[in-house]
Symmetry: C2
Subunit: 184 residues, 2 copies
DNA sequence: TAGGTCATGTAAAGAGTTACATGATTTT
DNA sequence: AAAATCATGTAACTCTTTACATGACCTA
């Protein structure tokens, strides 16, 4: 997967490993991210397979390896991107603890959910700004897919926030039956 | 994480590795799942740490190891479940390809998105049925967290479906500008 | 008797992160 | 002069899946 994402980013222009990391952090990190520890080995593998080449560049004294996609790289990417999308149920780690919140005092549950909302709000803010910037600067109909993935992110975070809020409301209105009583 | 989920499932009753797998598939698979290849080693580790014990059972000739949570297991679980929830941006693999759909002919994009919708619909159906069954059989206010996580799943799949649908609509209304033209 | 389900387990491989090592340049 | 950023890379570790091995019981 990572290798194809790298190829995808190289489809439009040549980039260094460092550039690729920045790309991901800025544009895809809300649905896919990778560390240097996986990017550099991936670039090595792609080079060995002949899907990318690189030139060494000294830009202002700084040593750089700038990667460019090859023709077979383009072919491999085009083959991959056209394949049917396989829907994988994605792990939602934040749900795991909540699933077991029956064992927690209601107040702790509410506090932790509120804290979760704060975290999500922070992440969501960055995305919403990106979306606004895109709407201001471009005609979004020209980039339907980039815009759609951004929208997905904004709506997803919105869902998580609404969900937390609804659950907190539900817990407050119903504080007469503390489910955590009786354990042990 | 897996070890705590196992402890969580053992909080209410004793279960075998096989039971635990069935539990997860039935109740948490839309946000967390694990294979036998990770469950059995996890149970071994939990036993070594003294957080669970087991008894060997021969149920109708079938050999079973039934695990029970210990007191230190309960303590460890209660400590974990009360910790603040850390929100991790979760990978949404289905978005990765779509992010690069500018390189695909519009018709292929639409076809693949429709196929994705079919897959999601199938997964969503199971969850919606579970939700309906819970509403019929129990007073959902008695199980706010189980019900909330179910709701999350239903709403999440709904979001994905609406998102696909909106994107397909957008692509149809705007078919005059095929963005894929011009590559290679 | 063949295939399905119940039941446990291991080994190899895959995919990734974290931490570290290195060193130049740029900003404070 | 220190700290941050740019830039590449490796090694150890973690977590996980897939594939396999084993064997009993159940059902068509």
């Amino acid at each position: 997967m990572l290798e194809y994402i790298i190829l995808g980013f190289l489809m439009t222009k040549e980039r260094s490993g460092y550039d690729l990391k920045r790309c991901m952090t800025q544009t895809t990190s809300y649905f896919f991210d990778a560390s240097f520890g996986s990017i550099y080995p991936a670039l090595k593998r792609l080079t060995q397979k002949g899907l990318v080449t690189f030139r060494e560049d000294v830009d202002g004294g700084k040593f750089k390896k700038v990667y460019r996609i090859t023709d077979s790289g383009r072919t491999a990417f085009m083959q991959w991107v056209g394949e049917p999308i396989t829907f994988e149920r994605s792990r939602q780690d934040h749900l795991v603890r909540v699933f077991f919140y029956e064992f927690l005092p209601r107040q702790t549950a509410v506090d932790n959910l509120k804290d979760l909302m704060l975290q999500v709000t922070r992440v969501a803010q960055g995305l919403t700004e990106q979306k606004g910037e895109m709407e201001r600067r471009y005609d979004v109909h020209q980039f339907p897919y980039r815009y759609a993935t951004l929208l997905y992110g904004v709506e997803y975070y919105d869902l998580v926030l609404r969900w937390c809020d609804d659950l907190i409301d539900d817990l407050k209105s119903d504080s007469a039956t503390p489910r955590h009583a009786g354990h042990e």
